[in-house]
Amino acid sequence: MVDLAQIWVYLARDPLAALTATLLAWMAGLRLAALCRWHPAANPVLFAVALLAAALLLTGIEYRQYFQGAQFVHFLLGPATVALAVPLYRQWQHVRRSALAALLAVIAGGGVAAAVGVAFALMLGAAPEITASLAPRSVTTPVAMGIAEQIGGLPGLTAAVVLASGVTGATLGPMTLNAMRVKDWRARGLAMGTAAHGLGTARAIAVNATAGAFSGMAMGLNALATALLLPLLWRLVFG
């Protein structure tokens, strides 16, 4: 007799099942996005997260248990961030001429993205820890979680809003840029990387190599600028 309960206990505890499920969900997400003919609003990350979240809620498996397996994928975010130096290096001759313009645009744009989000949260009466979780929204996950912790937010909630911002930027960003008549690939890349971190960059890389390089650079610059400035500003305004 096969003991199904025992097999279930093994699957729930071992990282193998969660890791496999994450990759399967990602492939399903890609397939769904391809079915929608890569329409910008059909984001594979969103599909994969929705599938996995539904699976966890249905089976009653705890997130922490799932993450034991999924952390191997999560870990690769570090080396992938370092790897952004490669597209930047390849485009360097192109990028260096616009370096000053890029720096100014990223710092100002990152500030606007954070301020508008915080202003809306305050106006609609969100709890203080929710507002603090929203402030570092536009920078890449590990950076944002660290900043949220410093200013009294909930790092886990920050991870969720960072992802939501990335998906929003990757899906609606290109349309917004079209509506604002931003045609320069360099400017489009900078905007995507500043407001939608790695997900905006992933989208930019898929569309245009120049936009991808500028987006990667904007993501790195905004992570630096936000990590340095946001905790100081937060203390001045709310401290």
Partner: protein, 122 residues
């Protein structure tokens, strides 16, 4: 592939150590990215001419593979929303408005400003 991955991890490791040793508020991987980038430029300067492939053999290929599936790497953290369903249920309006309005305002503003600055400054 392994060469490239080793170089990436080495840069990240140096970044993490530097961030901790110097109490920098900047995360290790971002410092690692700056280190790798500076290293590649320095190598070109020493050689006198830019090389075809960046860095160690396989670095370009490894970086492309990782970046092609960058979206996948955000999935595990994203599934974390299940933990915050109560907060999301209570504060969904400010949260979603802040996310959508903040992100789109940021994109529109940065795009316009960058386009104007690039035109002016080159």
């Amino acid at each position: 592939m392994i060469n490239g991955l080793t170089l990436l991890l080495l840069c990240q490791l140096c970044g993490e150590v530097l961030a901790r040793a110097l109490h920098l508020p900047v995360p290790g991987p971002v410092i690692g990215m700056a280190l790798l980038f500076a290293g590649l430029l320095l190598r070109d300067r020493l050689r006198g001419s830019p090389a075809e492939a960046p860095g160690a053999p396989g670095l370009g290929q490894t970086a492309d593979t990782l970046l092609m599936h960058l979206g996948l790497l955000f999935v595990p953290a994203g599934v974390g929303v299940v933990v915050y369903l109560p907060q999301l249920a209570r504060d969904w309006a400010p949260l979603s408005l802040a996310v959508v309005a903040g992100t789109l305002a940021g994109i529109a503003f940065t795009g316009r400003l960058a386009q104007a600055l690039i035109r002016r400054l080159g």
